[in-house]
Each structure stands twice: as structure tokens, then as C-alpha cells.
Symmetry: C2
């Protein structure tokens, strides 16, 4: 991993000012710039089905128009229709999927991938590639068709033919873990654009830290296609407000303005002035009125967007959903179902496409084939650039390399604080703060922040300033009160490259606002660290709106998430260790507002096993009773054990800090902690008892809270709601 | 409940054109209108701590200024300072809470409650009252202080003195179920304004249906105070976009523009042009620059807002957080902590407030005391109006009365479809659609819709049109792709009056987007029906982003929610019956995309018990094995039982359609369904097994899916993921 010749760091360079689409004179391959438009003679051109009044509402300045030669236009038409029909045919073949978006967005898709996006199809993970996110993920056949034409091995023709089938690389929505070339996992609307904001943030941050006046080693754009559905989602709004605030100039969003969502015309629920809103958010806004075949306008708009450096750009591109389908275009009927054989035929006739299904014409194949050598050369040029950078800036290059590869610095774990048995206790949020600050010293791309609760979550890295428009090299991210946007942005950061390690913080109860993003972290195998403080009724007076009850259970039930609830300093350090080492899953850390003592017997190693014995006075693995707890209630189990032992009982205390990790241990280990024969078991946790039967068994007792909390000082709540050592003792005595 | 003399329908009337603040000549009580301003001589007036550049950014048209007489101004100052110090003193007394907002918002709070809001303090549930929502719920001492001055019994001085204490009526955030006078439960930011949108929607809808040219029987405003934090939340944006779309002219939002959130100046994360955004959303926008003591401007702005009938209005009111605290105002330090004795003293000096804690000056008391008789007369006048309405429009009055009281029409349950054992099966979403349409016939204020998935959720009431700006009498609500906003708006609708029964629909997996709203439904005891279709891998090709796995478990763990997963037609009807009858909790219905057969033995009555025996060939309550299932997998349990019985086994099949309801049954009943001695138990559910140990016990087997799903046709997924009758048979054979 340390070699510069690794896949991610193979040798290639692209100077910022040079487009990889050189003028025709410099390249034997077809190009499209600077030629005269003949789009009006295009066979594919039909009038937009209906000019809606919205078109007239507001004049965003139209993109300057470039021109294109007739021959070239016909090639583009062919390419665009190839994309349309690959989508139509794949959906038809699967009898399932969404043809409408690919048919409408094929033109912008073609222009983007063929003319703008920097990529190497044979190495989808080349670090300095442009990132592309299809936020309207249901239109994934657009992306698969583009990846196919572009030469990615993940989207060969047989992959398109197995669209939406078991084991295929072409699932029903884009999934980064299934399809190399797909950057993030989308489908749940609105999150993709927020992921794109995260990708653009990562680029801006790394560029600010590593670029030199003589060498812009980090330099790529982030493109995103989003639809009306994404625009309606609050998460998209949150992230776009931040993108404007941060001035993410290299983020370019193409808004597929087709006026149709599943329920029909967007008139029924979505009549806001989107362009004006984005202006209010600090974006540069362009309107391309003819997205169906206005290649020149699309091209000009993207060029203009690239030239605006201080603001993100939204290009509103008016299209017709299902363009080309004579009877279903411009209606929801084309959104999410196969066209049906008859309408496919009609569409073939309409667009002049006599070919059999999955046909890619030779001229289109030939045209796109240049991307394989061009991509390879882009990467190798960048690698040469990196070699030069490394020679001149050895230290920075080493750090950047570790970020690119994700290799953790040797000995990083030594930064995790450890606590001697006589250390004073503290709130686990305070102990978390120590971890965050120590990790900030050793992990070069550990970045993060909170949703406007930095002083409560204690999530600031004290030695760094704020990532802002003009200080993008800093590492504290201020998300504002935007939990969902925060989570989705962190997913984008995590997916930028393996060494970016984002964390984000809010109150544990507000995971409800960002749960959809946490699920995407889990599904997309993204290491995001969720620092969730105020993790129980222990927060006290803020009351039930702020007191998590069901949240631990709800994450224990979610696949591929590590739910960690450390009890003290050593367990908090263990939780961070586990969170960092688990590169393919997110971790949710539930941390206390209130102080806890350091508990004898806790350890980092224990946390790695998820559940372990904290103290025990039994022999032969046969305690009279096993007391279990997590987090702030482990103390109560310890206290109860102390009392019970005084009365002669053999009592084992078990910390169950992470059920997932414990579940992954060997049967022998689990038996050594929770022997099957010992059915006298009591658990205590200031949360829902739901799920605790797994640990206490049919004969055990789970002490918890199965109602909402209340507003009162924490000690009162613990007493009134029965979360006490006395309750544990009483329950234990009933059992043994 | 049928009498018009019920509390909610006592006799009182307020003509729309008459303010309850009559001119001075018509009233012996002090009034403020039409008098000359002397705010510049107010002892409380200090310069705003810092004029920020944002003040200059954009000139929204300033409110016209009315004038106020010096004497009156000093009384208002006294009242405003009373509010400030009740908040300061209560927070100080609790040593916990948020003084900053009440101190800054006391002027707008005073003007709103004293001069505009129509209420009867002795009947907080009077139907035609104006609704007020404090979306920035942390500032609840503002609301408690206002309710105290206004004469509500829920906020007597001793209640303010027990702020944030166990058992008090004044919890740390506003809770409708604790404090009469509080309409909704707020605290989690952004949702309150969405609740207000729901309240305003309900008013507009009922007014459109029941008002007559000669009698506007439904006629109130909805006011909301929201802060910077609310403005950043996506849910607020979603709801405000809809409010603009719907033209909710009687919704008036007062935006406490204080530039401070917990992390400090909003400059660090929130620099969008909020006013321009709201204009883009179709709102009328007004800016009051001096919210600290510009009573006239505030008053004029609200008057203007009331006069704009076709758009909701946002009044941006620039204030200083913690106004009056010389050392902490205009900083996050005053947001969420007690000021401390020293700073309280300094604030008393600064604002010229020599009084002991919790003091209400006599002139202020006297001034506010008029609201008790005025409120009573408002209500009795409205009730007279209602009596006249009833005389003239008997039929409408009866319906409206049932909506106001929440009394269900006699025999409504007969509308629920029932199915004979030989009925053809169907997808439970289709069966749900039948229920929705049948209920639409019998429940007069059953309203709802989906988040742009009407054709998938099958959630349309076919006989009604769409609730829209110009057709507010219709009952289908088109929420667009805004799940969180949808849930929070439904909470507002449900809280408008007991007979409004909102339902809302999306894919079950997208409960993740709206979970925070569902939790508020549960906490605030609001009957919202969540119609959640596509409830498992059974949705097939859309893949893991769309396939719920952990969602059933996550709601089973949430307090006060009914999680229902019906298996067929009778169970779907049972689920709706339960959902309607449970007036104090929300129901989440998980419904299938795919067809299921009608299962012999299912029943509406069974659903009401949550778990029940569907079939059994055992005797003496001693089956060899108990097979359990829910929803679409109950069929697999039935099939497995059939096979096992062929082999001579005594097999019981149990449907566990709602764990909550089953858990509420008597111990005897539970034992009759799941006898403790029968430990051979197998469950099957196409979802996380988390929590199933509660039902299958330590020796049983839970068949489920503890990973994410995949993109493939549903039958393939069921087979590949092991959700089959064969798996049940194999597990059962291992156990018995």
C-alpha cells in the first residue's frame, strides 16, 4: 500500500487548465467543441409535449449557446438514443424499472460523461476522477448505460441484460458496493445531492491542504443529476443551503426539470420557484430550456458552471420524461414501469431506431472507445504529476497518499486515551471529546462536526478552525441544525476516498432526523462515526422530546451498523478504536451527558468483543446470577453485584457495549460470558427493553423504560422510572 | 357528547370582522391601538448589540408603523419585562432551561397573545380559538409566561415555580398532553412550523366545507414562532413549501431572527437569504427590524399578515437573544443555561426591574385579567353563532359537531370490509385501499394522502378531489416527496380537533425520513394513521434501498405506537379498526406490495388482541410446536403447519399482527395463545429477527433477515434469503 504504483496512485496527470477533450487538431478522436449547431435538423427533435406556464414564470439567464456541426450532431443523437434504448430495453427485459428518467436525461448524461467527466473506466477508483452522483437513483439505467459506453467492466452488455436480477452488478438503484463506477448508493430521494455536497467538500478540503502554487494535485469536479423528487426533500435543501454557504464552486448540479413525479404533474404539490430558492441559497443558477436535444445549451451551461469558482451551480434543465415515447412521455406512466412491447415499438419508430434490443451502433461504440485510452492516460499523467509532487513535497505527499489509500498511520491507536482504575470519572461525552481531539492529531483526514450542538456534544477539534468558504483547509465542520443533511454529507465525505474519516454529532434522540442517512452509511459500507450524546433520560430536564428510549434497539436491529454504548473512559476509547478499524460500516456511539465513574474491569479489548466480563466472583463459569448493563447503567449493575456478593452470591457483571460485536464472537466465547445453563440473568439499561430477551433469555429480567421519559432532573428520573441498583438487586433475588 | 352545551360547543360567537380588542370607547379595559408611539423613551430600550451586515443585505418591505401612547407603552414594557423575568426566574429556579428566546421574543409574544390571539383561557379546547405553536420549543417559558398572564389554569405561579420538575405542568419543552393551552408538542426543531401548517390546513379545509355566506363558523388563524434553528431544518422547508403551494393565508409565522444558535453566530452555518427563499416558496414576507421593542412595527406586521388572504406570511422579526442581559445577550451563552444570580441581578438593573422573582406587577395583572371575561364571551358568542348555524344548517352542524367532539358516527365499523374464507386474496395495500375508501364514506374528517406515491400506496380516496389552494374542501392531500413534512403536518391536523383523522402514506422503508414526526405522534398522543406499503423484500427489484428490514423492530420498540402488520383482508380491516379506535396513539400499518391469499382463521377481532390463534390441531393447550408469523409470512406458517400436520404433529399457528396489543392482553389470554410450557416455537417474518426472542423464547427459532436485501424479483429473494415454508418446517422438526 505504501508504493506510489498502487492502483489508486498509478502515474498520470491532468493539469487543471487542460480539458481532456482537446481541440480536434490535437486529437484524432471526434470532438464537439466549436462546431456549428444543427440540432434543428436532428431527426430526434420533436417539440416538447407541453410548454407549461412555469417556463414563463421566471427568466433565469439562459446558457450561452455553442454550435455543433451536423455530422457531429447526428453522432450525438445516435449516442443519446443508444442510451435511451439501453435503458428502455433493460427495463423491458426485467419488466421492472424506471425508463422515464434515462430517456429524458440521456442528452445531459451523454454530454456530461462524454465531454466533461474525467474518469478512467479501467480504474473506477482513480483518486483524482471527477465524481458523479445520480441523486434521482431510480434512473440508474442512465448511469449503467453511460458506464457501459464509457468502457467500465462493471456494466458490460450482459450486466445490462441482467438488470435488477439476483447477483447482477446492475441493481434496481445505484449501489457503490455492487457496481464499480457508482460512487454512492442512491434511491431514497434527496440524499444523493447531499452526498455530492460531501464529495465536493472533501475535494475542496483536500485541495486546500495539499495543492501547491505549482501543483494542483487535488483537482476534480463533482457532478450530480437530481430530479423534482430530490428537490422536494428537506435533506436536499439542507445540504444545498450548506453548499451555498461553503461556496463549493466545483459542485455542479443538473436538475432534471421534467415536471412529472409519480403522482403526476408537479403542479399538484410543487410550485415553488426553485431557481429563485437556489439563488437565495447562494448558488449560481442557469436554465437550459431544451434538455431534450439542446446539446449545445447543455454544454455551454456546464462550461459556464465550471467557470464559476466561488459558488456551486445549479443548471435547471427542462426535459420531457420518457422523451421519445409517443404515448407515455410527459406522464407518470413512463416513470417507473416498463413501456410494454407495443410502446417500445412505437418509441423505436418515433426516434428512428430500427435496431434490436441492446444494440450499440458501431459509430457510437467507436466514438466512446476513446475513453479507455484517454482515461488511462489521464490517470497516468496524474500519477506523473503526483511523482513530481512527491519529489518536491515529500511530507505532504506521504500524508495525501495515506488519505488516498486509507492506510492508517502506524501506531495511531496509541493516541486513544486509557484510564487507570483510580482515574476520576466523567461524562462519556467528555471522554469522547478527548478521543476526538487525540485522533485529530494522528488521523490526517479525520473531519467532522455537529448539527449546532458542538458545545453539548463536545465535538470540536480544538486545534483546528472551521471548514468555511475561505478556510477550507480546516477540519471542524459546522452543519447548522441540519441532522439529515449532516449524515448524508458525511456519507459523501466517507465515499470520497478511503482515508477520509468523517464524524458527526447531535443528540442521540435526533438520530430520528437522520436515520435515512445512517441506513445509507450502513448499506453503502461507509465508515461514518455518529457521535450521539445525551443518550438517555440521564439528560434530565429537557424532557421526553429529547430523551431517547427506543433508539438503542432501533440501531441494534439495523444491519451493518455498530451500535456502541460505552460505560466509561476505557470503553469510550474502545468504541473509537472499533469505529476507526471498521472501515466498512458506520458506528453509532451513544454517549452520556452525565458523569460516570471509571469502572474496574472495563477495557478497550473488551469493547472489541462487544460483550465481556467486567467482574466476577463465581467459579467454573457458574455464577448464581449474571448482571448485564451498558453505558451509564453498567455502574448500577456493578453496584448491585457488590451488594449481592456481600450476601454471599456469586455474581458476574457483563458489559454489553456492542451487541453486534458480541454476536460475531465464537460460540465458545459467548458461552464463556453468558453460559447457557445460567438462566438467572438481569439486565439494566435506561432504554426500551425491546430485544433484551436475546441476552437475558426467557427466564431472565430486563430492567428498562418502555414508556417515554419526562422532564425532571436526571436523578429524579432514574428513581421514578426504576432504573436503580435496588431494582437490579430485587430482580436478581427473585431469580437466584 | 351530542349536546351543543358540551365544553367544546358552549355558546359564543366572534364575527370575523370584529377584533376581540375593541376600540377603547367600547371597552373599559386598556387597549393599545391608535395611540402615539413613545417607544424611544422606553426605559427598556437599548441599542441592539451589534448591527450585522445581514441587516443590510436585503430590504424586505418594512412593516407600516402604528403609534402608541407613552402610558400604554410603559404598560407594554412592564408586561414584556414581566414575561422576560418570569422566564429568567423560572430557569434560574430550575437551574435549567432556555432564557434567551423568551427574553428576545417577549415583545412579539406579548403583542400576539394580548392583542391578536383569540382564546378562552378557561377552555383551552374551545374549537374556534386561534392556534399558536412555539416551533422553537426550547423557549417554552415564553409560552408558559404568556399562558400564565392570560389566565390559563395550567400555568399558575406555582406551575412556573416547578418548571422542569417531576410531575409539573411545565416541562422542559411544550407538551400538549401536559399543559392545556399548548397545542402541539415541540422541541425537536423544525417540526412545530410543520404542525402549524397542518393546523392551518385543517382550518382552511373545515372552513371551506362548513362556512356559509351568512355564517363563517370556522374562522381562526394559526400563529407560529420559529427560530433560526427551525429555519435550517429540512422538515420546516418541506412544510413551508407546501404552505405556499396551498396558499394558507391564515398561517402567520413569526421568525425570531436573532442570528444566534447554539454554536454561536448563524454566520458560521446559515447565510442563506431566508426572506428571498420564502418569497420563492410563495409566502408574503415582512421584516420587522426592531423586535426588541418595536411593538408598533410588530403589531402592524401582524395586521398586514392577517390582511393577506391568499398566501401564508412570514414576519421576520429581528431580535436580540437574551435581550436585557448586559453580558450575555446576543450570545449563545444565554440560549440554553440559567443566567446565574449575578447576571440576573445585572439584568434586573439593566431593565429597571427591582422586583423579587416571579413578580407580576399589579398593572400588568389588571391589564391581562380582561382575557378571562373576554375569552368566555368570545366562546359564548361563537356558541350562539353555532346555535344559529345549527338551526339553519342542521345537517352540516351535526357533522361539524362530530368533528369538533371526535365522536365517531354510530355504526362506522360496518364500513370496514370483511372477507369470507373463499374470497380471493390480494395485496394488503389493495385491501388497505378498500378500507380507506370505505372509511372515507363514514368518517367525515378522514383526510390524507401520500408523499408522491399515491399510485403505489393506493392511498387515494376516489370520491374526493385534491385539497388545493382553490379546492380546500377536498380530502386527498398531495404532499409531494416530503415524508417528514407529511408526518409533521399530519400531527398538526390530528391536533386541530378530535375528529380530524389524518392518514399518510409512503413506502415503509421511508419511515426513516419521517421517524421524528412519528415519534411526536406517539409522544403527543396523536391519532395519525401511517399507511406504509411495500413492507418487505417482497417489493422485489427496487432493491435494498427500498426494502425495510429493521423497521418493524424499530417501531415495536417505540413507545405508544401501534405497529400493525396485517396478513390479509380481514386483518387489514382489523388494523384500520384498531387505528381509528385508538384515539391517543398513532398506528403504523405495514402493507404488502405483493398478493397474499385470504387465510382461514383470521379476523378483525383477532387483530384487536394483537396475537391470536389462526389454526390449531392440538388439544389441552399443548401443541407440539407453535408457528408464528405476521403479514405476508403468516401464509408460510400456515403452509408449514399443513405439512407438519400431515406428518402427525399438533401444530398451532399464531398471527402476531400487533405486539403492542398482544402485550396488553391478560396473562391468561397470553398463556392461552403462547403457553409457557410449549418452548418449541418457530417464527417467520421477512424482516430482522431482532426482538423475536420475546415470542419464540430461548429455545425457539426465529426465521428472518438480518442483513440488507437485494435487487431481484420477490420470489427469488424469498428463496435466496430463506424465507420459506420449508425453512419453517425444518426449524420445527428440529424442535419437536
Amino acid at each position: 500500500m505504501a508504493s506510489t504504483s498502487s492502483l489508486s496512485l498509478s502515474n498520470s496527470l491532468l493539469a487543471r487548465s487542460v480539458s481532456h477533450h482537446a481541440p480536434a487538431s490535437a486529437s484524432p478522436l471526434p470532438t464537439f467543441s466549436g462546431l456549428k449547431s444543427a440540432s434543428s435538423s436532428s431527426p430526434a427533435q420533436i417539440p416538447i409535449a407541453a410548454l407549461r406556464r412555469r417556463f414563463l414564470q421566471r427568466q433565469i439567464r439562459a446558457a450561452a449557446i455553442e454550435t455543433l456541426a451536423p455530422a457531429e450532431t447526428s453522432l450525438v443523437d445516435n449516442s443519446v438514443n443508444t442510451i435511451r434504448f439501453l435503458a428502455v430495453d433493460a427495463v423491458e427485459n426485467a419488466n421492472s424499472g424506471h425508463p422515464g428518467l434515462p430517456m429524458g436525461c440521456a442528452p445531459m448524461g451523454h454530454v456530461l460523461y462524454d465531454e466533461f467527466i474525467k474518469f478512467n473506466p479501467k480504474n473506477p477508483y482513480w483518486f483524482n476522477r471527477d465524481r458523479f452522483v445520480l441523486s434521482a437513483g431510480h434512473g440508474c439505467m442512465l448511469q449503467y448505460a453511460l458506464l457501459h459506453l464509457a468502457g467500465y467492466d462493471s456494466c458490460k452488455l450482459e450486466d445490462l441484460k441482467s438488470f435488477r436480477q439476483w447477483g447482477s452488478k446492475t441493481p434496481g438503484h445505484p449501489e457503490n458496493f455492487e457496481t464499480p463506477g457508482v460512487e454512492v448508493t442512491t434511491g431514497p430521494l434527496g440524499q444523493g445531492i447531499a452526498n455530492a455536497v460531501g464529495l465536493a467538500l472533501a475535494e475542496k478540503h483536500l485541495a486546500a491542504r495539499f495543492n501547491k502554487p505549482d501543483c494542483e494535485i487535488v483537482d476534480h469536479y463533482t457532478y450530480c443529476i437530481l430530479g423534482d423528487g430530490c428537490q422536494m426533500e428537506g435533506v436536499a435543501h439542507e445540504a444545498c443551503s450548506l453548499a451555498g454557504h461553503w461556496g463549493l464552486g466545483k459542485l455542479i448540479a443538473l436538475y432534471d426539470d421534467n415536471h412529472i413525479s409519480i403522482d403526476g404533474d408537479t403542479e399538484i404539490a410543487f410550485t415553488e420557484d426553485v431557481s429563485k430558492r437556489f439563488e437565495a441559497l447562494g448558488w449560481h443558477v442557469i436554465w437550459v430550456k431544451n434538455g431534450n436535444n439542446g446539446y449545445d445549451e447543455i454544454r455551454a451551461a456546464i462550461k459556464e458552471a465550471k467557470s464559476v469558482k466561488d459558488k456551486p451551480t445549479m443548471i435547471k434543465i427542462t426535459t420531457t420524461i420518457g422523451y421519445g415515447s409517443p404515448n407515455k412521455s410527459n406522464s407518470y406512466a413512463v416513470h417507473g414501469s416498463a413501456l410494454g412491447a407495443k410502446e417500445v415499438d412505437a418509441t423505436r419508430k418515433f426516434l428512428g431506431w430500427p435496431h434490436e434490443p441492446f444494440h450499440v451502433p458501431d459509430d457510437v461504440k467507436k466514438h466512446w472507445s476513446r475513453h479507455i485510452p484517454e482515461g488511462a492516460s489521464l490517470e497516468s499523467e496524474w500519477n506523473e504529476k503526483f511523482a513530481a509532487y512527491e519529489q518536491k513535497y515529500k511530507e505532504e505527499a506521504d500524508v495525501l497518499k495515506s488519505i488516498i489509500t486509507g492506510e492508517l498511520p502506524a501506531g495511531w491507536e496509541k493516541a486513544l486515551p486509557t484510564y487507570a482504575p483510580d482515574s476520576p470519572g466523567d461524562a462519556t461525552r467528555v471522554l469522547s471529546q478527548q478521543n476526538i481531539n487525540n485522533l485529530a492529531d494522528v488521523l490526517p483526514a479525520f473531519v467532522g462536526g455537529s448539527a449546532d450542538l458542538a458545545s453539548s456534544n463536545l465535538s470540536l477539534m480544538k486545534k483546528f478552525g472551521n471548514f468555511q468558504k475561505n478556510t477550507p483547509e480546516e477540519r471542524n465542520i459546522r452543519f447548522g441544525v441540519r441532522e439529515h443533511g449532516m449524515g448524508a454529507i458525511c456519507n459523501g465525505i466517507a465515499r470520497h476516498c478511503p482515508g477520509m474519516i468523517p464524524y458527526c454529532a447531535t443528540f442521540f434522540v435526533f438520530t430520528d432526523y437522520m436515520r435515512a442517512a445512517i441506513r445509507i452509511s450502513a448499506l453503502s459500507q461507509s465508515r461514518v462515526i455518529y457521535v450521539m450524546t445525551h443518550d438517555s433520560i440521564g439528560l434530565g430536564e429537557d424532557g421526553p422530546t429529547h430523551q431517547p428510549i427506543e433508539h438503542l434497539a432501533s440501531f441494534r436491529a439495523m444491519p451493518n451498523v455498530l451500535m456502541l454504548r460505552p460505560a466509561d473512559g476505557n470503553e469510550t476509547s474502545g468504541a473509537y478504536r472499533v469505529a476507526i478499524l471498521n472501515k466498512k460500516r458506520p458506528s453509532v456511539l451513544a454517549l452520556s451527558r452525565q458523569k460516570v465513574p471509571l469502572i474496574a474491569g472495563t477495557s478497550i479489548e473488551g469493547v472489541e468483543k462487544g460483550g465481556y466480563i467486567v467482574s466476577d466472583n463465581s467459579s467454573d463459569n457458574k455464577p448464581d446470577v449474571i448482571l448485564m448493563g451498558t453505558g451509564t447503567e453498567l455502574e448500577l449493575a456493578v453496584e448491585a453485584a457488590h451488594e449481592l456478593r456481600k450476601e454471599g452470591k456469586a455474581v458476574r457483571v457483563v458489559s454489553l457495549v456492542s451487541w453486534e460485536l458480541f454476536g460475531e464472537q465464537s460460540a465458545e466465547y459467548k458461552e464463556s460470558v453468558l453460559p447457557e445453563d445460567v438462566t438467572a440473568r438481569v439486565s439494566i439499561e435506561a432504554a426500551s427493553t425491546f430485544g433484551w430477551e436475546r441476552m437475558v433469555g426467557s427466564k431472565g429480567k430486563a430492567i428498562g423504560i418502555d414508556s417515554f421519559g419526562a422532564s425532571a432532573p436526571a436523578p429524579v428520573l432514574y428513581k421514578e422510572l426504576g432504573i436503580t441498583a435496588q431494582a437490579v438487586i430485587a430482580a436478581a433475588k427473585e431469580l437466584c
